[in-house]
Symmetry: C2
Subunit: 243 residues, 2 copies
């Protein structure tokens, strides 16, 4: 069994002794029942990872000493961010978890015309913080040393406003000129845009098209909205020779 | 809104008037509240689909007349069957639903050494019938006219015994020579083998290797067991130019 992975965003240097965040400390002492001398792996969410030893533990407080830096799991060559219309209920939890596992660098929740969740509801229910915790947990489990940032919810115009190559996934039934996966060459960095259960509106498709985004269809089958990000991310990474 | 899709495995000829299966009939009359004269689409699960009109309805019984045959949603060029170690709880439900959506032609549940569900438990809980109903439902929603067959649970040797090209997904950590996705050329037909949460045993890897199966790894990230079939199917279809 390998050493448990611990997230410490302020870890920077071998040799340093640092306090772990309270949530991580509580997990080590209460769930895993580890004490001074136990070996762990510490990653900082920005791509660095260390071997470490627990220095001392108190109630919900753990200090570890960072030792040799280790090579983190490899990240995809091409950075892909996901801009995704917020799905209903807890479907976004699975989208965040899966997207992080598939190597995404950031997630931007988007409120579109047909999104059935309001920005106010997202704020009120502290969803961004929840998705950020899920991103930490998914990075931990999948072996990544990078924790993708979950942005605050934005509108489509904000999501389109990036120097990345923008690839907007459109339904085969959409009345718009689109490319197939084979016609989307590998970019330096990409933002993948995925719409809500009800799809993009014609105005949103025109807005994206006018901004220079690539409109792409994936086959002719109807896919479930909460599986689409996972399928589209896998398809792009394979298409771009990055899997 | 398009006409509801109805599954009738015994539908074969335009012009015929047929009774629908009881479950389908009940859905049309009780949930959708349709009556004589309503238009539906009938598909037979073997790849054929018709426009149809409801002829008469009684309690839980509906007769429809098949009219013009319509072109069904296109199926993948390369037929892929999925042989998957049975996952715990209701995770297999999602695997079946997603695999059908992604164009699989058949699903073979496999009991491996590390599978945590017994063949007896599968029989006792009527799981095969449940998964077959999920396959019908997923075909209906995704627009496919093909309903993949769910085989009875079998052992690995039975799953390997097929003229298809067999591609067994192995973890990057497995101590075995494996190919990457890029080195798996397009076959005429394939069976994709996916292991349980705990992975294949060394003996199972040797058994597959000795039988001529291709052992393939997908990147170096740890993926969640219930997402692996969806990711692997997408990856193979894109790699084989069939998405």
């Amino acid at each position: 069994v390998s050493a448990p992975r611990v997230y410490a965003p302020h870890a920077t240097d071998s040799g340093a002794t640092i306090e772990l965040p309270q949530e991580e400390a509580a997990h080590l002492t209460r769930v895993l029942r580890l004490s001074a001398g136990a070996r762990v792996r510490v990653f900082n969410g920005s791509g660095r990872e260390w071997e470490a030893t627990i220095d001392r533990t108190e109630k919900d407080a753990v200090a570890v000493t960072l030792e040799a830096q280790v090579a983190p799991a490899s990240e995809p060559r091409i950075a892909i961010a996901l801009a995704v219309a917020v799905l209903k209920g807890d479907k976004m939890d699975a989208v965040v978890r899966d997207a992080v596992m598939l190597g995404i660098v950031a997630i931007r929740p988007v409120i579109t015309t047909r999104t059935e969740v309001s920005a106010a509801a997202i704020l009120r229910s502290h969803r961004i913080a929840r998705w950020q915790r899920i991103a930490v947990s998914s990075a931990k489990q999948s072996g990544r040393a990078v924790v993708p940032k979950i942005f605050d919810a934005s509108d489509l115009a904000t999501a389109l406003d990036t120097p990345d190559t923008r690839v907007m996934l459109v339904e085969p039934s959409a009345d718009v000129a689109s490319r197939s996966l084979a016609d989307v060459p590998a970019p330096a960095a990409a933002t993948l845009l995925v719409g809500p259960e009800g799809g993009w509106t014609p105005a949103e498709l025109r807005e994206a098209d006018a901004s220079g985004a690539i409109l792409m269809t994936l086959g002719r089958t109807t896919l479930r909205a909460d599986s689409v990000p996972l399928i589209a991310l896998t398809a792009l990474r394979v298409r771009w020779g990055d899997f």
